[in-house]
């Protein structure tokens, strides 16, 4: 086993015990990138020089002040940063030609926190431009390929983040999730993907997509690593007014607490006719596993589910059109001629739904429907602790299959957008394979209940065995 295949906790153990150095770990990741990235296209920018310099510092610290490692939970961990997170001095494109020459002069809060925790930034991950997409094909820097079948998409918009972790180029990667952009690629690439509660993680310094929906999370090889990273990134930030001052729990501490007595709701609307039968069977199998672990299974209903995607495809483009209005090519980046098709489509749609005479019929109406969807969840969480749902109605699809039909592409998000509308957390994790393609499942919980989601995922993972990569 090569050291780039380790999880975060395994790698840190190896570093502490001096089985390998940080430089060796970074070099192994860089070699993997050099051999696989030309085909996979997971990175827009590779920070070889910076990463190696940082790794040298880490090694010196381990040799001289080995106690430092105890205060830095991500000490020496090579990570990829989705290219919509501002990184000081490192090009940040958001996957768009509009920002192809943009070099931020400050770090996003999350980037700052990761660096302070000792993480090493290996590169900036490819993505659908402006995070608009479910496949990675909307990147202005070429599509990313699914490492398990290169003729297929890795899911989007955090396409490069998922492909980089799944192909062992890095140990973990950051992502953003406005309607499923972390959970869908996690599902398509056999990874754990966390979309935290709205406001749990600061959005400061991250290129805004739809400000009332954007959540900042990450993709990892297992649940424990997901918990470890959230402990670093979560918390109040005075630079983002939507981050409440709610204490950050020690997410790892309660991972092992047993699931006995917890109630798992199965919302019937998510298992309707639109769902691939084989995926449905895989998820039902996983539900039976959770039952064996002591969870009480209950069928529940979220009656407004059928309206969620429509509400989402009004709210999201409306906010997109507002956020992208700032790109004038004056202060930074290129002008509006550089937007490609999908961004133009969403700007147009959002400008229309916000325009005079249509605002009430579309945006306001959708925000009212949002209230109903949120209330559905509030009601159901009075009866059950967490919910289980599919992540995607289909298996990873072929590159080119859906790109010509925007509506067909939008339907990929049908099971994930509800969490963003309600502001609740969602954890996607692998439950198996169908025809050698990965299948994921999602656990949803009440706002700020990430700890509970990790617990469920951790026990499932432990029971079914460590995630295997090829």
């Amino acid at each position: 086993m090569k050291i780039n295949q380790l999880t975060i906790t395994e790698a840190q153990k190896g570093l502490k015990e001096k089985k390998f150095s940080s430089v060796e770990l970074v070099k192994t990741c860089l070699e993997e990138i050099k051999s696989k990235n030309p085909e996979i296209n997971a990175f827009i920018t590779i920070c070889e020089k910076e990463a190696l310099a940082q790794a040298k510092e880490v090694d010196e610290l381990i040799n001289h002040q080995s106690s430092t490692i105890n205060h830095q939970p991500l000490f020496g961990v090579p990570v990829a940063i989705k290219d919509n997170f501002c990184t000081k001095g490192i090009k940040t494109t958001a996957g768009s030609n509009v920002l192809k020459n943009f070099i931020p002069v400050y770090d996003a809060t999350v980037v700052d926190k990761l660096k302070k925790a000792g993480a090493i930034i290996i590169g900036k991950a490819n993505m659908d431009a402006w995070a608009h997409g479910s496949s990675g094909e909307n990147s202005d820097f070429g599509p990313t390929k699914n490492p398990f079948d290169e003729s297929r998409v890795p899911g989007g918009s955090s396409s490069g983040s998922a492909a980089a972790v799944a192909s062992q180029m890095v140990l973990a990667a950051t992502g953003t999730d406005t309607g499923g952009s972390i959970r869908l690629p996690a599902s398509f690439c056999h990874l754990v993907g966390l979309k935290p509660t709205y406001g749990r993680v600061s959005r400061y310094g991250i290129v805004a997509m739809a400000s009332s929906l954007d959540a900042i999370g990450h993709l990892t090889k297992n649940v424990e690593d997901a918990a470890l990273i959230l402990k670093v990134t979560a918390g109040h930030d005075k630079l983002d007014a939507t981050t409440p001052d709610i204490p950050v729990p020690d997410y790892e501490k309660n991972l092992q607490k047993e699931l006995k007595g917890l109630k798992l709701g199965v919302p019937k609307e998510y298992f309707s006719s639109g769902l691939n039968e084989e995926i449905k069977e895989k998820i039902n199998q996983a539900i039976r596993e959770l039952e064996k672990l002591g969870m009480e299974i209950m069928e529940v209903s979220l009656p407004h589910t059928q309206y969620a995607l429509a509400a989402y495809y009004i709210i999201q483009p409306s906010e997109v059109s507002s956020n992208l209005a700032r790109y004038d090519g004056i202060r930074y980046g290129f002008d509006r001629q550089s937007f490609s098709d999908e961004a133009k489509r969403r700007i147009m749609l959002g400008t229309y739904t916000l325009s005079s005479g249509y605002y009430e019929a579309y945006y306001l109406k959708a925000m009212q429907v949002r209230t109903l969807i949120k209330k559905d969840f509030e009601e159901v969480f009075k009866k059950v602790d967490v919910l289980v749902t599919p992540v995607s109605p289909n298996l990873p699809f072929k590159i080119g299959e859906k790109i010509a039909d925007p509506l067909e592409m939008y339907l990929s998000d049908v099971f994930t957008v509800t969490a963003n509308l309600a502001g609740i957390p969602g954890l996607s994790f692998p439950v198996g394979w169908i025809d050698n393609l990965p299948v994921g499942m999602q656990i949803l919980g009440p706002q700020f209940a990430e700890e509970l989601l990790f617990r469920v995922g951790y026990h499932y993972e432990k029971m079914t065995g460590k995630i295997q990569f090829n």
Binding site: G199, T242, A310, T351, A366, L372, K374, G423
Partner: protein
């Protein structure tokens, strides 16, 4: 209510103008049909009564978040201008948006 699926070419052009996007005639045609398709899809919301339902714009219930008005560390002017396409004398250089006589007239009023 008017059926939105009949989004006209002129409407598409008008929205593009509002959004400051310049579209080719082919793009106008393509967007006319694609936007109509999406608008048709979201039309399902009309079936749902929402009278007296409060809209949700902030999901975690935070309201009026303020910070104290104290100066803190901020970026240096040269950093702020680093990515600018054109700059002059420590400022962003932009094209004039007012014609000169009008600009002078405004200056007069200010006096």
């Amino acid at each position: 209510m008017r059926r939105i699926s009949n989004l006209t070419e002129d409407e598409v052009k008008h929205v593009a103008k509002l959004a400051k996007l310049s579209l080719t005639p082919q793009e106008v045609k393509k967007l006319q049909s694609q936007l109509s398709g999406v608008l048709d899809y979201v039309d399902v919301l009309k079936k749902l009564g929402t009278k007296d339902i409060e809209p949700t714009s902030q999901v975690t219930g935070l309201e009026n978040v303020f910070r104290s008005d104290e100066p803190g560390p901020s970026l240096q002017p040269e950093e702020v201008l680093k990515n600018a396409s054109e700059k002059n004398n420590g400022l962003f250089l932009v094209k004039a948006i007012l014609r000169r006589p009008l600009f002078l007239a405004l200056l007069e009023i200010k006096k």
